[in-house]
């Protein structure tokens, strides 16, 4: 049986090698769903304004800011991003004040300034995956949210309801105990393609 599987895979590999190159998935895909740090300009302006100095990451106390290599295209090289599932933004706003280039607009560390200006993305709950929506009271995302009862409310069985005040910091997605995560932040920069 193993031998047969091996032969089959060999045949598939041979076919893939012989197939015309257009059949192979050559198109570059976005490697990850990513967020820009808080206070970021819209994607096009951000790429033009960011000077790739790395100060936003260097001041981030949470070390959630990472930098693109060449995997996301040459123009995005060395620009900062956040993958919320790995580490969310704690909304300290230090990076916005550290940014010299204006790619991140300087913001005060107050709830008003954050709610008014930060829009990294918006959390979306997948009710088929969410434990609370499946009848097992959880509420972890609600407790992780820095804007509790403003951006996220809970209903019966701690079922999360995200509203438009969500700034997309990603702490809920980081904390979600489901795998794959039932709540995820849809980045502001991604445009269409992700369900709202």
């Amino acid at each position: 049986m193993r031998r047969r599987a091996f032969l089959e895979s060999l045949a598939v590999a041979a076919a893939a090698t012989l197939a015309p190159p257009r059949a192979l998935p050559l198109a570059r895909q976005r490697v990850q769903r990513y967020l820009r740090p808080p206070g970021a300009l819209a994607e096009a302006e951000f790429a033009a304004a960011c000077i790739r100095c790395g100060q936003c990451g260097e001041i981030c106390p949470n070390r959630c800011i990472r930098y693109f290599g060449l995997e996301n295209g040459f123009a995005a090289r060395d620009t900062p991003y956040i993958v919320p599932r790995e580490k969310g933004c704690i909304l300290c706003m230090k990076c916005t004040q550290a940014c010299p280039s204006g790619a991140l607009r300087p913001l005060a560390h107050t709830a008003e300034a954050i709610l008014a200006n930060v829009r990294m993305g918006r959390a979306v709950v997948d009710r088929r995956l969410c434990l609370s929506w499946q009848g097992k009271s959880c509420g972890v995302c609600y407790r992780a949210c820095p804007l509790q009862d403003v951006a996220i409310r809970v209903g019966m069985m701690e079922q999360p309801h995200v509203n438009d005040h969500c700034v997309g910091c990603g702490l809920c997605e980081r904390s979600c105990i489901q795998m794959p995560q039932a709540i995820r932040v849809i980045p502001e920069s991604s445009g269409a393609g992700w369900p709202r």
Binding site: A44, E45, A47, A48, A49, C50, I51, R52, C53, G54, Q55, G57, E58, I59, C60, P61, N62, R63, R66, Y67, G69, L70, F74, A75, A76, R77, D78, K94, A98, P100, S101, G102
Partner: protein, 339 residues
């Protein structure tokens, strides 16, 4: 007799040692700041017990290092961030003029706080020329060590590359970098400018868990310098160097040759990293005021001067045999020479 005619010159020669100290300090700071950042995040996380033994040793070391200066590292060390590309030093934001220019090219917008942060370096460059290249640039330390390595290889009969190209090539690189940045809508010059690359790579290596793509580029420039042209990238290709050369064209502070003290030994030409011709008073806009020629000169014939242009060629040095052959009078005819 002729030795008595030497004009006493200020002792600038120790500046070259100071320059090496400065370069080393900047480079060490470039490595220290990411380490401080890492330490800050450990402090902020209150997680000493969760660190690995190696990380705990690092934590203890950084604690020893910073405890004389701060009792609250997580907050206080925020005052010192960045690289030579753009830095925040106790609230003073300084940026590379090339960064400002590239951002303007990429976005066609003017963000005043950022442009202002490039003002001090800009003014200093207008006065001192390419001083950044000689005195501050973290890549310069490695490039000069690379040059010295190339010279050392000569002992074994290995001759490193010493080809010459047109110096104006770097202006084309600068123009192409700015045009491509404008076309792409992204600051692409940051990816081909060694000090910016080194600053990021140091940060990536220490605090982000690995070197990035820029280190490959930088290694290639080191190889180019070693195999093709001594200090070739800085001389012929660096976009930042091109910008400072243009800005420093009418710089005020210059090195000049004191012809009365010069004996035509040409050590200044040999030591010049940028392949300039101090022996014949041709410094041009590529001189970084690095003072290597001042330090190497055996007769104190190199000094600083405040002029907006190089001294016109002064002819052979008065202590050299060419001058003495042409004018047996020597010191007596010096006034005619100047006239």
């Amino acid at each position: 007799m002729t030795m008595n005619t030497r004009i006493p010159a200020p002792r600038w020669r120790h500046l070259n040692l100071l320059r090496w100290v400065t370069l080393t300090t900047v480079f060490a700071t470039l490595l220290l700041l990411p380490a401080l950042h890492l330490y800050q995040t450990y402090v902020a996380a209150h997680a000493y017990d969760l660190l690995s033994p190696g990380e705990q040793r690092f934590y203890t070391f950084m604690e020893t290092l910073t405890s004389p200066f701060t009792s609250d590292p997580a907050r206080d060390l925020d005052a010192l961030k960045g690289t030579t590309w753009s830095a925040n030093i106790f609230g003073l934001k300084l940026s590379d003029p090339l960064a400002a220019l590239s951002q303007v090219a990429a976005g066609q917008t003017l963000y005043l706080p950022f442009l202002l942060s490039a003002l001090i370096p800009l003014v200093l460059t207008l006065i001192l020329g390419r001083f950044f290249c000689g005195w501050i640039c973290p890549a310069t330390l490695l490039y000069e060590l690379n040059s010295n390595f190339g010279l050392w290889l000569r002992r074994f009969g290995i001759h490193s590359g010493n080809r010459r190209f047109d110096r104006r090539l770097k202006y084309a690189v600068l123009a192409a970098g700015l045009l491509l940045s404008a076309a792409a809508g992204a600051v692409l010059t940051a990816g081909i400018y060694p000090p910016a690359i080194l600053g990021r790579e140091a940060y990536y290596a220490i605090a982000q868990g690995g070197l990035g793509a820029g280190s490959v580029f930088f290694a290639a420039t080191l190889l180019f310098d070693l195999l093709v042209a001594r200090r070739g990238f800085c001389r012929y290709l660096c976009p930042g160097g091109a910008l400072y050369a243009l800005l420093g064209r009418f710089r005020l502070v210059r090195v000049r040759r004191v012809v009365e003290n010069c004996n035509d030994c040409a050590k200044c030409n040999a030591v010049c990293e940028f392949g300039l011709d101090p022996l014949h008073d041709r410094f041009g806009q590529d001189c970084t005021n690095c003072t290597a020629c001042i330090a190497v000169c055996p007769t104190d014939a190199m000094t600083f001067t405040l002029r907006l242009a190089d001294v016109p060629p002064q002819g052979p040095g008065h202590l050299g045999h060419r001058y003495r052959k042409a004018r047996p009078g020597g010191a007596a005819s010096r006034s005619q020479e100047a006239a």
